[in-house]
């Protein structure tokens, strides 16, 4: 009988799935290093399409990680995103988990 891999006998890796998706991770990273930024800034920095940004931001907003504010600047709409305190805490926790999981063996 083939022994089961040791990891399989333990609980699954518990990473925050909301943050773990690559596009959302990139958006979170870019928001984490600033206080707030608008849609165009995130589009330029990440290279993600408008549709992608919108859908992932909705997911992050629903998770309570991102706060969205809309305003008109010179008669043009501006959507500004900022990480909430919960979003920063979740991102810090995510970084810690990834470090725990992937660190070591240098």
């Amino acid at each position: 009988m083939t022994p089961r891999p040791r990891e399989a006998t333990k609980r699954p890796i518990d990473l925050d799935r909301v943050i773990h998706e690559p596009a959302r991770l990139i958006l979170m990273r870019n928001l984490y290093v600033v206080q707030e930024a608008d849609f165009l800034y995130l589009s330029r920095r990440t290279g993600l399409t408008d549709g992608n940004i919108s859908s992932h931001m909705t997911r992050l907003e629903n998770a309570g990680y991102v706060q969205v504010s809309k305003a008109f600047v010179e008669r043009r709409p501006r959507t500004v995103y900022a990480l909430t305190a919960a979003g920063r805490a979740a991102f810090d926790e995510y970084r810690k988990r990834v470090d725990d999981l992937l660190g070591g063996l240098d």
């Binding site: 990273r29 707030e36 608008d38 165009l40 800034y41 330029r44």
Partner: protein, 200 residues
């Protein structure tokens, strides 16, 4: 989509890119050209030549903000970054006042005839030296390497002007051509890489 930098590098790159439009370089270069020209050919108003750039700087900075936000978007930096900016701007202001005071002292000493000839001998290059020190200080404060090149160029121009005992306007004119050229090139590249959302 390439996004492999760590968070520090990511923030620094974003900050650096936000100031890569070249508008400040272009404005500074044109100001140097104007001051140099006034010093050489319009000696009656040479002493007041610096007033014009000082008047226009706020207009240029306001226009720049709009230009950049139309192309690269709006961002508010993190509190530590804004603190860092504020500290550097205060240092810059202090350095500017110190440079101005140095210039005035040198002028007074040279005019009174009480110096040993040293200040008089470097007189034609003095303004370029002071601007070179300011550029180097800015380069250190904001980590912009091209400012060291500007500082070196002003220093060399200042030495040449002092050596040739020529008008202080020449090193400014020479530096102005290069700085404005660099600014124009950066602006062109920036505009190509970041088209305005109004035109897309």
């Amino acid at each position: 989509m390439v996004d492999t930098d760590n968070l520090d590098v990511l923030e620094q790159a974003a900050y650096r890119d936000a100031y890569s439009d070249g508008i400040v370089d272009l404005f500074t270069g044109l100001s140097l050209l104007w001051i140099g020209t006034a010093w050489i050919w319009l000696s009656d108003i040479a002493g007041m030549a610096g007033v014009l750039p000082a008047v226009f700087i706020s207009v240029v900075l306001t226009g720049r903000k709009k230009f950049v936000e139309d192309r690269a978007g709006y961002v508010k930096w993190s509190p530590p970054r804004r603190e860092w900016e504020k500290r550097n701007l205060v240092l810059l202001l202090v350095a500017g006042i110190a440079m101005f005071a140095l210039g005035v002292i040198a002028y007074v000493v040279a005019s009174s005839g009480s110096d040993t000839g040293f200040i008089r001998s470097i007189g034609p290059g003095l303004l370029a030296f002071l601007l070179a020190l300011t550029a180097a200080g800015l380069g250190i404060a904001f980590g912009a390497r091209r400012l060291f090149a500007y500082a070196a160029m002003l220093m060399v121009g200042g030495i040449a002007a002092a050596w040739q005992d020529t008008s202080p306007g020449w090193p400014l004119l020479a530096a102005g051509v290069v700085v404005a050229g660099m600014g124009g090139y950066m602006l062109l590249r920036y505009a190509q890489a970041n088209p305005s959302v109004r035109s897309t």
